[in-house]
């Protein structure tokens, strides 16, 4: 059963990813990206990380993908021009990616990992909460500051400064 589900999600994830890089329409690329993200959420469910799956959907589908769609729509003129999305070095890029894939394939195929057969107790939410406010509290705070800075930075960058009106 699980391999079957895994294959379904793999098709979603990898197919979506392939769609992102092959389609000529940027808007479809974004939709494919969403498909890929959803597949990854499924991956996380299979990996007993339900919370992460929900985070994946909320953040990637609900926020990042919507942002990307907005960005695409705001730069709509680019899309109607219908010029090829690929640049001049795409062949070299494809080769690099392929080489990378085959080089990296050596790792999962050759390395013996110190696998563990223990089964987690299932209170991953509690564990996550404790870890975030325990051992990882400082990275947690740093990330929250980072998010705040990104929020403010994004607003300042994206604001149209040419016609700001002062009441």
């Amino acid at each position: 059963m699980e391999p079957f589900v895994f294959f379904i999600f793999s098709i979603l994830t990898l197919g979506g990813a392939l769609g992102v890089v092959t389609t000529k329409n940027l808007y479809y690329a974004a939709l494919f990206l969403i498909m890929s993200f959803s597949g990854m959420a499924g991956y996380f469910v299979l990996l007993d990380a339900g919370f992460l799956a929900a985070v994946q959907i909320v953040v990637y589908v609900g926020a990042i993908a919507v942002l990307i769609l907005f960005a695409i729509m705001l730069s709509r003129k680019v899309m109607t021009r219908n010029e090829p999305l690929l640049n001049r070095q795409w062949g070299l890029g494809l080769a690099t990616a392929a080489i990378f894939f085959f080089v990296m394939l050596a790792v999962p195929l050759n390395v013996k990992w110190p696998l563990s057969n223990e089964v987690s107790s299932g209170n991953e939410l509690v564990q996550l909460g404790l870890a975030f406010l325990g051992s990882y509290v400082i990275p947690f705070e740093v990330v929250s500051i980072l998010l705040l800075v990104a929020l403010i930075g994004a607003i300042i960058l994206a604001r149209d400064t040419s016609d700001v009106e002062v009441e």
């Binding site: 640049n87 070095q89 070299l92 890029g93 690099t96 990378f100 080089v103 051992s135 400082i138």
Partner: protein, 690 residues
């Protein structure tokens, strides 16, 4: 029982809430803000009583060992820094005094401050002040204590300079802030050293025998760490509790409103220093030779020295201020001689009768001010005792409360001050008997006894000047007793000033307070924690001294006429002038610290502009000009011809070739990065792993 103790963290929360609400919401509404402040501290008082009840029910276990609520704060990886609250007998005793006195002062202030344009702000500040002191008392570690300590420092600045339109008030606030800051820095340094050696700041962990042993055994710069820390911590207490030589801020603190003076001098600020020393006493006690001795010496100097200045002051509040300095000296004597409980006992009783005296003086000032308004006189200083006289007939309630406070302060049997001051003197006396004549305890006893005489003298002088004789000004003649909200707190305080001594009378179970609070430091062997038997000789001597001093002062000043010369001045001559000018300590500090600093700055400026730097700069400039002319020739011939143009040609050629790689295309750069990292990974896999 435990349930009641769980309420401890709530005690300081109420005043804090009052502060926040007043600042952010109620600052337009005077009545509401006063009620909020009073309500906040009232709830604190109630909660404190519940906690005290819990401590009493908890018996020896809670009173001696303490009950703690550690709150993990800042869990960084493995180490968790706990910052909790704790209650033991000592804390409970403080919790009886602090919120109650604060409550009475707040009620008093609600009438006293009426008509002030910043009425609401005043209550916000005093609430914050009370929050600071309550947090300090219930803190179970030095860091939280220090935070509260700093909150109080801030509040003292804000409150002493509350009437900041007056230059003197502004300066007094600044002075208090800067002077106590010297002590704070010392205390903070002590804390840092302590933490670096012990990795904890929690009291009960610090006072474990093995920790103390480690501290006294370890050396730093050739002296035991414990000695270093103790002296630094004591430095903090010297600043906060206005001990010699950092006492200068305290008399100036009189510039604040009178309730603030009462708050600072009785319940909060200055007790914090004594509290700190008392709390850290085990650390002082293990220092092989010395830390406690210094506490006692400083205490004795302060006790005598403060009392002598007190007899020559004319400002009613300044007399009390020097009296506070002197009484704090007594507490330090007790702590320095190892008499933990004697010091604590005096701290508690002193808070009540000194608050009473300050509020009483406030009430007198208020009355005289009222009188001055009545006769349209705006030049009389309402705080000058020489402008008063005969007030007994006009304000009986205040007068009687004031008499009780005075009697308690000078130690008339059987009021509170008698028991607490005599315990200190008895402690010194007993140790003197052991250590012999001319030893430290002897000098401490002598200073204390003389101080007691002087105390009685200046209080007698004050009573005589203020309440008896004929009114020396029109304002005094028209003084009027203030309303109930001011006089009732006085009566309550008078009750406690009269009776509080009985909690530690040696005849009752050998001192009840000893059993309640005295065993906090039971683990420390260097301290004298057992109750001291009643010393008849000490009591007789001090009683005679006190009564004698009082009647002397009363008799001399009772019938002083307006404009007449001060009889003591006639007697003492130049000595009186020295005392009147507080031994010229302020002038000394101005001469030693402030003027040289200004001079130094002027010198530095001169050094810069006229003598050294500017001439050097100018000379260097001239040399530069000359050498530039020479090197210009050299440049034209050698550098330009061969070096620069040659190098430039070389780089022009290489640049022309290499710039082709900088396409400005992000994708190209990305590809380069990807290929390079791929190469590196490939090399790693190929050469190292295989």
């Amino acid at each position: 029982m435990e349930k009641l103790l769980l309420l401890t963290p709530l005690i300081p929360i109420f005043p804090l809430l009052a502060f926040v609400i007043i600042i952010f919401g109620a600052n337009k509404n005077n009545k509401l803000s006063a009620w909020l402040a009073i309500g906040g501290i009232g709830l604190s008082t109630l909660t404190s009583w519940l906690v005290i009840a819990g401590t009493i029910m908890g018996g020896h276990h809670v009173q001696a060992e303490g009950w703690r609520l550690p709150i993990p704060w800042m869990p960084t990886g493995e180490i968790v820094f706990n910052m909790g609250v704790g209650v033991d007998g000592f804390t409970a005793a403080m919790l009886f005094m602090v919120p109650l006195v604060c409550l009475l002062i707040f009620i008093y202030a609600s009438e006293y401050m009426e008509g002030d344009p910043r009425y609401a702000r005043f209550f916000a500040y005093v609430s914050l002040f009370a929050f600071g002191m309550l947090t300090l008392v219930i803190a179970d570690n030095l860091l939280l204590l220090f935070m509260a300590w700093e909150v109080m420092g801030l509040c003292s600045y804000l409150l002493i300079g509350f009437w900041f339109e007056k230059t003197s008030a502004k300066r007094a606030g600044l002075k208090a802030f800067l002077t106590t800051r010297i002590g704070d820095v010392l205390l903070f340094a002590g804390m840092l050293i302590l933490y670096s050696y012990t990795r904890t700041l929690t009291f009960h962990e610090l006072f474990k025998p093995e920790t103390l042993e480690m501290l006294s055994g370890t050396m730093m710069w050739g002296i035991p760490v414990s000695a270093l820390i103790s002296l630094l911590v004591f430095g903090g207490a010297v600043g906060k509790s206005a001990q010699f030589p950092l006492h200068v801020w305290l008399p100036d603190a009189m510039e604040g409103p009178t309730p603030v003076s009462a708050l600072i001098h009785a319940a909060t600020m200055v007790s914090a220093g004594v509290y700190l020393v008392a709390r850290m006493l085990p650390l002082f006690a293990i220092v092989p030779d010395g830390a406690l001795r210094w506490v006692a010496i400083i205490g004795a100097i302060t006790a005598f020295f403060g009392a002598t200045i007190g007899i020559a002051q004319n400002d009613i509040k300044r007399v009390l201020a020097y009296s506070t300095i002197s009484q704090l000296g007594y507490m330090m004597i007790a702590l320095g001689l190892g008499g933990f409980l004697a010091g604590v006992f005096h701290l508690l009783t002193h808070a009540f009768f000194k608050a009473l005296l300050f509020l009483g003086s406030g009430s007198i000032i208020h009355a005289v001010e009222h009188g001055a308004h009545h006769v349209n006189d705006h030049h009389t200083d309402p705080q000058d005792m020489m402008n008063m006289g005969g007030l007994y007939g006009r304000m009986k309630r205040t007068a009687w409360a004031y008499f009780f406070g005075t009697a308690a302060l000078i130690g008339i049997f059987p009021l509170a001050g008698f028991w607490s001051k005599d315990e200190i003197l008895a402690e010194a006396w007993l140790q003197w008997q052991e250590a012999g004549f001319m030893s430290l305890p002897f000098w401490a006893w002598l200073a204390g006894t003389l101080g007691a005489f002087l105390t009685a003298l200046y209080m007698g002088r004050q009573i005589g000047l203020v309440f008896f004789g004929k009114p020396r000004t029109e304002a005094a003649a028209h003084a009027q007793e203030p309303g109930n909200r001011m006089t009732i707190p006085l009566l309550v305080l008078a009750f406690f000033a009269a009776t509080l001594g009985f909690i530690n009378v040696p005849f009752i179970k050998g001192g009840w307070l000893h059993h309640f609070a005295g065993e906090v430091h039971a683990a420390s062997h260097a301290l004298h924690l057992e109750a001291i038997p009643f010393q008849v000789s000490v009591a007789v001597v001090s009683s005679i001294v006190a009564l004698g001093g009082f009647f002397l002062g009363w008799a001399m000043y009772r019938n002083l006429k307006a404009g007449q010369q001060d009889p003591l001045e006639k007697m003492l001559g130049p000595v009186f002038t020295v005392l009147k000018n507080k031994y010229y300590v302020d002038e000394l500090y101005t001469a030693i610290f402030i003027k040289p600093t200004v001079k130094l700055a002027t010198l530095c400026a001169k050094f810069d502009y006229d003598w050294v730097i500017n001439p050097i700069v100018n000379t260097v400039g001239r040399i530069g000009v000359v050498s530039a002319i020479i090197s210009a020739k050299f440049d034209e011939i050698v550098i330009d011809g061969l070096g620069v143009l040659g190098t430039a040609r070389f780089f022009k050629w290489t640049g022309k070739e290499l710039r082709l790689t900088q396409s400005g295309q992000v994708s190209n750069y990305l590809l380069t990065i990807a290929l390079s990292s791929l190469t590196l990974v490939g090399m790693y896999l190929f050469f190292i792993r295989m």
